[in-house]
Every structure is written in structure tokens, then in C-alpha cells.
Subunit: 478 residues, 2 copies
């Protein structure tokens, strides 16, 4: 068995001395997750320069029995990219693998390396008059490899689908160091099992994504945005149904925030203006987009909202009169994570439930959390059209300075949310993944047969259990 020093030397032999950070070096940013809840350690943090280097490092670690933790932009919500505190691991960073290998406006596809920052891909698409639709708060620093490994969601899922549906092909280094090349950017492929699907959303536990071929779309060239005040959550769903029946696939986003969620932002995020009275329980951003320049979207949006206002379905509506006004309204929505994080210790959730159950889910969950934990501030935001509502219970930092202090209360809240999610036929993670935060919850709400099949797939691909160990699945019961 190689000593830590010898291992770091062997790694340097593969990637170059400059790209290995041994223990004692400046490893800290890579050992802790974005929320600061998990802290691990690593024999080395390795910055890889090519797929061949990834394969060589994986082979070395397979031979030595060293765990590998792939890490993208380290912006995940569930600790999936943090190395374990026990045992010997290395962290794999793919920042240097950030080339855009090819863009085809003809085929509407782009091929990128896993370390590409999401925003850079959006920009490269825009440069050829196309859209890469994945959009989320961390887009300025998250990496596409991590987005794919998490099957990330965001604000454009309603129209374009989650990350899985944007992936045309993948290049993956398997746990034995072989490279699976399924990178062909083909829309149609019925040639045997679609192996790449295994790796999307598996959080680096089955293989290391090194490159991807992704879908591009026609770029929206007209849009209209409204902020709507709602007397109750049901109104959002009734509005959705009307929009589906009238503007059809011009419906781009439908993002809800509870009044409390907006209050938290107003209190804690400087420079975010709230240009409307907070006298309703729910607020909704409705965005229509069209790929034909000059299309009038205001008129159909005004028509739907005007009728809804007249009937009392909605309480008020503001149509953005300019791009700047639209950006200011979007800014509120994009500040939810920052505002909540500053407001206290956040016990957050990522449930998706069938749309018909969304209103009752929201109501029951809030009532039960407040009954069990009266000191919690319960706020919510979510992607209404996807059934994905983030329920956040914010706890006072004085009483809950850290995860350990919050643990008993957090567990109680989690149980309530999981219980309501299951009762309404939903899933506990819609877009954030499982990582470390949610694996006991996943184990609690998932059918034993499904968990067993997931375990068998993990054992088939990674028999030594070296790839991102302990993520998604709890250690098997003995």
C-alpha cells in the first residue's frame, strides 16, 4: 500500500505536480460543502487535465483501494461532492477540463467537457443564436458535470425538461478506469441499452462524467413577464390550467413564492426591491417566451390575467414594462437561497408531488411543522408546473448555531415533510439530489425492492465501492 506521500507522488506523475494539492496544502475549499454542513478530508485534491488523466487516476486508485470523490463547482445542496471524514479519499476536480469541443447550430447540439461552467455553455449557445435552457441560481459557478450527475432542475424545466432530457451523449470513466464513449450527439438511438442513462443523476457513484453532448434550442426572442398575487395556492394551479389551454407551449416559467419567502429576501438581501404590497399568501412569476422576434406575448398574457382578475381568481398582477423591470422581478426569485441562508439555520426540502395534490401538500406541511416546531419560520418557493415546492423551515441561529444543534428539530421536520410527501404520492428530492443529507430519508420513503435494485446496480458497476462512497445509498445493512 502506497503511503500518502507516495500516492501524491504517483498522482503528480499523472497530472503534474502543479495540479495536486496534498494534505496540509490549500485543500480547505474542496473539503466542505456549499452549505458548510459537511467537512471531510482527502489524501489529495487532484485537478485533472484530460479524460486520459481521469482514467489513469481511477486505475491507480482502483489498484490501491483509494476512494474517489468527483467534485464539480461544489455548489450542491446535499453534500454529494464532499469527501468522507474517514478513510483515504482523493477529490477529483475537473475545472481544467472546460473546453467546448463542438457547437452545431445545424444539429442543435453542443459538446462540452465536464468542467465547463454552466453559464459559459449558455453563452456559447447564444453566440450561435441558440439556447441552452438549463438555468439555476448557481449557474455562474456550477459545472455541467455536476449538473448532469445531479440531474439538476432549475427554472426552465416546465418547458425544456430536467438535465436528463438535455443530454444527448456522455463520456464516462468507469470505476475500473475504462472509458465509456457514448458521446454521439444523436437524437435517436435504439441500439441496445442506453447505458448513459445510468450515470445521469447518480451523483458520481457509478462513474465519472468527463464530457457531454447537450441539446440546444431555438433562442427565445420575445418574452412577457408578470408577477401575480394569489389569494391561495389553488389559484396558481387554476391559472396554470388556463395558460396551458391558451398560450400552450409559450409558457416558459411558473415560479411561486410564499409571502414569507419574499419577506425573508426583503429583510436579508440588500439591493433587492419588492415593488408591490405583501398582502397575499402567494406570489407567482409567469413568463411567456417565443422564438419568433416581435411576437406579441403581452396581449395573450393580459387576456388570461385580466379574466382571472375579474373573476377574483387572482388578487393583483403587475406586467413587467421593460427588460429591466423583468430582470428586477427575476432577481427576487433568484435571491431565495441567499436570503434564506442569511435568515437563519435552514432545514430545506425539495419535494415534488402530483400537481393536483400540491395545494393540500403545502397546507398540511406548513400546519404540521408549525404545530411541532412553533419557533420555525416556514417559507416556501417552487416550480409550480413541475409539482416541485421547496419547503424551508428557518430556525433561529442563536438557538441552532450548527447542524448538530439543529439535528433533533431537523429530523422532526424532515419526518413531517417526508410523511406528507409520501401521503400525496410524491418524491423527496425533485432536483437537488440525495448526497449525504437525504440518504436516510431516501431509505425511509423508497420501496425496499427499489433500494435493493439500486444497491445491486452500484455493486455491479463499482464492486470495490470506491466511487463517491456513502452517497445516495446508506451502507448496506449487515
Amino acid at each position: 500500500m502506497l503511503t500518502d506521500t507516495a500516492l501524491a507522488g504517483s498522482l503528480a506523475g499523472i497530472v503534474g505536480q502543479a495540479h495536486v494539492i496534498a494534505a496540509g496544502g490549500d485543500q480547505e475549499p474542496y473539503l466542505v460543502d456549499w452549505r458548510g454542513r459537511y467537512h471531510g478530508r482527502a489524501v489529495a485534491v487532484v485537478k485533472l487535465g484530460s479524460t486520459a488523466e481521469v482514467a489513469a487516476v481511477v486505475r491507480l486508485c482502483a489498484a490501491e483501494g483509494i476512494a474517489l470523490v468527483p467534485q464539480g463547482g461544489n455548489t450542491g445542496m446535499c453534500g454529494a461532492a464532499t469527501p468522507p471524514a474517514e478513510g483515504r479519499s482523493i477529490v477529483l476536480r475537473l475545472d481544467r477540463m472546460n473546453r467546448i469541443r463542438a457547437v452545431s447550430p445545424l444539429a442543435n447540439s453542443i459538446t462540452v467537457e465536464a468542467g465547463c461552467i454552466l453559464q459559459r455553455i449558455q453563452e456559447a449557445a447564444a453566440e450561435v443564436d441558440r439556447l441552452f435552457p438549463l438555468s439555476l441560481g448557481a449557474e455562474g459557478s456550477c459545472q455541467i458535470g455536476g449538473n448532469i450527475a445531479t440531474n439538476a432542475g432549475g427554472t426552465a424545466v416546465l418547458r425544456y425538461g430536467p438535465t436528463r432530457e438535455l443530454v444527448l451523449g456522455l463520456e464516462v470513466v468507469l470505476p475500473d478506469g475504462t472509458v465509456l464513449d457514448r458521446l454521439q450527439g444523436l437524437r435517436k438511438n435504439a441500439s441496445g441499452y442506453d447505458l448513459k442513462q445510468l450515470f445521469i443523476g447518480s451523483e458520481g457513484t457509478l462513474g465519472i462524467i468527463t464530457a457531454a453532448s447537450l441539446k440546444l434550442f431555438a433562442r427565445p426572442k420575445a418574452s412577457a413577464l408578470a408577477l401575480v398575487a394569489l389569494p391561495e395556492m389553488e389559484a396558481a394551479l387554476r391559472l396554470l390550467e388556463r395558460l396551458r389551454g391558451t398560450v400552450g407551449d409559450r409558457l416558459g416559467s411558473l415560479e411561486a413564492m410564499s409571502r414569507g419567502q419574499i419577506e425573508v429576501i426583503a429583510e436579508h438581501v440588500p439591493d433587492v426591491a419588492i415593488p408591490f404590497a405583501l398582502d397575499c399568501p402567494w406570489y407567482l412569476l409567469v413568463e411567456l417566451t417565443d422564438t419568433l422576434a416581435g411576437t406579441d406575448l403581452r396581449t395573450p398574457l393580459e387576456a388570461v390575467l385580466g379574466a382571472a382578475l375579474e373573476e377574483g381568481l387572482i388578487a393583483d398582477a403587475i406586467l413587467a414594462g421593460s427588460e429591466a423591470q423583468a430582470a428586477a422581478l427575476w432577481r427576487i426569485r433568484h435571491s431565495v437561497s441567499e436570503g434564506s441562508k442569511r435568515a437563519g439555520y435552514v432545514v430545506s426540502h425539495d419535494s415534488a408531488v402530483p400537481l393536483e395534490r400540491q395545494a393540500v401538500f403545502v397546507r398540511n406541511t406548513e400546519r404540521r411543522i408549525l404545530a411541532a416546531v412553533p419557533q420555525a419560520r416556514v417559507v416556501m418557493h417552487g416550480h409550480i408546473g413541475d409539482g416541485n415546492i421547496h419547503v424551508l423551515a428557518i430556525l433561529d441561529r442563536d438557538r441552532t448555531p450548527d447542524a448538530a444543534a439543529a439535528a433533533p428539530v431537523a429530523q422532526r421536520i424532515n419526518e413531517i415533510v417526508d410523511d406528507e410527501t409520501a401521503a400525496q404520492g410524491g418524491v423527496i428530492s425533485a432536483e437537488h439530489g440525495i448526497g449525504l443529507s437525504n440518504r436516510d430519508r431516501l431509505a425511509r420513503v423508497t420501496a425496499p425492492g427499489d433500494l435493493d435494485l439500486m444497491r445491486r446496480i452500484k455493486a455491479l458497476l463499482d464492486p470495490q465501492g470506491l466511487l463517491n462512497p456513502g452517497k445516495i445509498l446508506l451502507p448496506a445493512p449487515r
Copy 2:
């Protein structure tokens, strides 16, 4: 071990005597594939009435070591639903499981049993003013379970994606008789491995799909259709690029036919009129659709085609002036399988290649087939925007009355097409699947590591090898 008679009795005990066709009964339609190329035998054909019955039959067969061949509408092109001629098998028919369990225009989803005829699902969607976009020649008789098992394509993939992208959830009976319930119709789910993906496109070799939750879309309420005559294939791709840049996501279908393909239809399919001169090598159907009623699509389509005509990019264009005229043009396209089948013995292909390589692929393939097999009539049709071109070599029935007589020539042609497909970075099956017809070709063009991983997944899920044995993968080398 149960005798055949005892087995038929046990099956009747599960599904009822009326729903078991024992050997000697009227099994014939279920023992032969649509093209009449494969002929198998079965201890029994069983018509199942519920998921519980499927599970009970699977458990019985698992205990007895009997192979199971799930069969949808039996319209597949590759023999994937035909039982083997050797050994003991039963054929599972799901015709009776044809209920639409739920439709939600709010969530844009529909939940159906696997035996539902595709057209019935399209109609159920239309009844609530929605679209289920999967559309293909056999839609009046194929079943959704088979469509999903094949990851079927069709003429709407360009806009809506292949079947995989239309599936929100699945219910599957696993080879041990347990039921995997992943039927939640949620758009977003990042809760562990997405197990349902395994079964989409696996042609019944890993599990038996019994129900599905599917996406619905806003229904197109305006459309414009043109038939365009092209001096060369490249022109289709240049036209596609212009359409993407102008009409964007209003582009619904882009279907190409070679002159020879249309001639075959004109010669062999009665009642199909060809209302244009056949003096160009390629013809293209271009359809724009919009979900807003009354949208003018003729003007932008005329603008693009007018400019292309002026520049000499295209040779001619006919815009359909009425729905009847549009239907008549679509009828030509929908007659390609029938016309080709009547014209002779068809060696057909289903390659997809990157769009940039499509024109060279078409040219090289035709040239090489004609050089090697001068008596072949080479015709083509395909889904230009997906890179999916069907190359058909039609052989004279007098010289090639059946598959055995055609075998040596077919193999030579297959090798040429496979070789060109691989040279252009494509795949041999875009939408028809592998089944029996293409498994040796798949083995030849697929990386050994990929094939090995497919085999290991098969062995993991179906260690006894009882589920649709011999399909997709050749028996493992010893």
C-alpha cells in the same frame, strides 16, 4: 417439471381458460413477426388481464424455467416480439390491459396500461385538448408497451423527442415477479437512480412494462405544410439550418424521401397520388405547427422557401392549400413501408448519423451498395433533422423469395451500411431497435466494453435469462 398441458392448466388458473391459447390452437398470428421473417413456437399464448396476473405468470415461469416473450401490437421491424423456435416459451399478450387510468390536462400527463393502442392514447389526449406526440405508421395497431420497449421514434421526434423523452413513469414486472412501481407522473425526480430508464428501449429483455405515465403537450392548432423538391441532399440540411434560425421551435417535421422511394410508392400503393413531377433526386416534407389557433405559419414558411428558391437552393415547392391537400402529401410519406414491402424483398436500415455527415453517408452508401449488388433498387426516406435515414435495398422477389435466399446479399449490404454508419460516427438503429434482425450487426459495431456492460446488466436483472431470450444480445461467447 410441468408438462406443456399442465403448464397451460396452471396459466389458465391465473388468467382464465378463455385467455390461454395452447399449442395447436390459433397461435399463428403471435408466432410470426410483421415482416414474416421469423417464426417461433410457444407452449402457450397468454392474454393477461392485470399487473397482478402478469406477476403471477412471471413467477410461475421463473419457477419452471420457461422463457417469456412479451408482445405488443406485433408491428416491430426486427423480430423482437417473436418467440424462439427452440426451447419452451410462452408469449405474453397485453391487449386486455388497455385502460387509460388517468388523464390530467393540468399536469399534462396521461397514465395508461401497456396494451393501449397508440392511436387510442392520441385520441384520449385530443379529448382534453392536448397532444400525445408519438406518431408512426403502425399507430392504429401498435401498443404503447411495445413503443416504450423499443424506444420508438416516428415523425415527431424532431420537435418532441423519442419515446424515452415522453415517459414520465413506468410500472414494470421484473424477471422474479416483483412489481417495480415507478409510475409517479412527476416531471422532476432526483431521488436516487432513475430505475425506469433501464426498461425503456430494452425490448422486454429486462422486465415487462405493464403501465406508463406519459407526457402530454399543448395541441397544435395551426399548421403549414410544404413539399419541396431538392437538387441534392445538402440542400435539406441548409434549409433545416435556416428554418431553425427563423421559425425556431415551430418546426414540427422534416421528412425526406428519395425520388426512387416515391416511385416505389407510385408503382405499388393504389390510391396514392403524386401531384408533382419526379425530376429531382430528393423531396422534403416541411411542416410547421403552432399551439395558438389562427397563427399565420404560411407567411414565414413562404418567406424561407421563396428565398431558397430564388437562390437555387431548392428546385421547387408546393404549399398545401388545404387540410385535405396536406393529408394527401402526408399520405405519400406514410406509404413508404407498404410500398417498399410490395416492391420486393427489402433489406432495410435504420441508421442515424450526425447531421453534418448525412449527405456524405447517403451518397457513399448508395454508391457502394449499387457497386456490390447491381440488381438492388436503392431507395431512401428519413427524418432529416434527427440524422435518421432509412436506406432500403429492394431485391427482386423472383430471385429472392425469402430470407434464406436473400441472406448472402443482405449480409453484404448490411456490412456496407454498417461500415458507412460507423465511418460517419453513427448508430445502426435509430428507432426500430435490435431484436433478432440486428443483433449480430450490433455486436459488430459496438465497443466490446459497452456490449459487456449490457450483458452484465442483463445478467443482473435476469440471471436465469428467461425474459425475451436471444433479443438484442447474441448468446455470450463461451
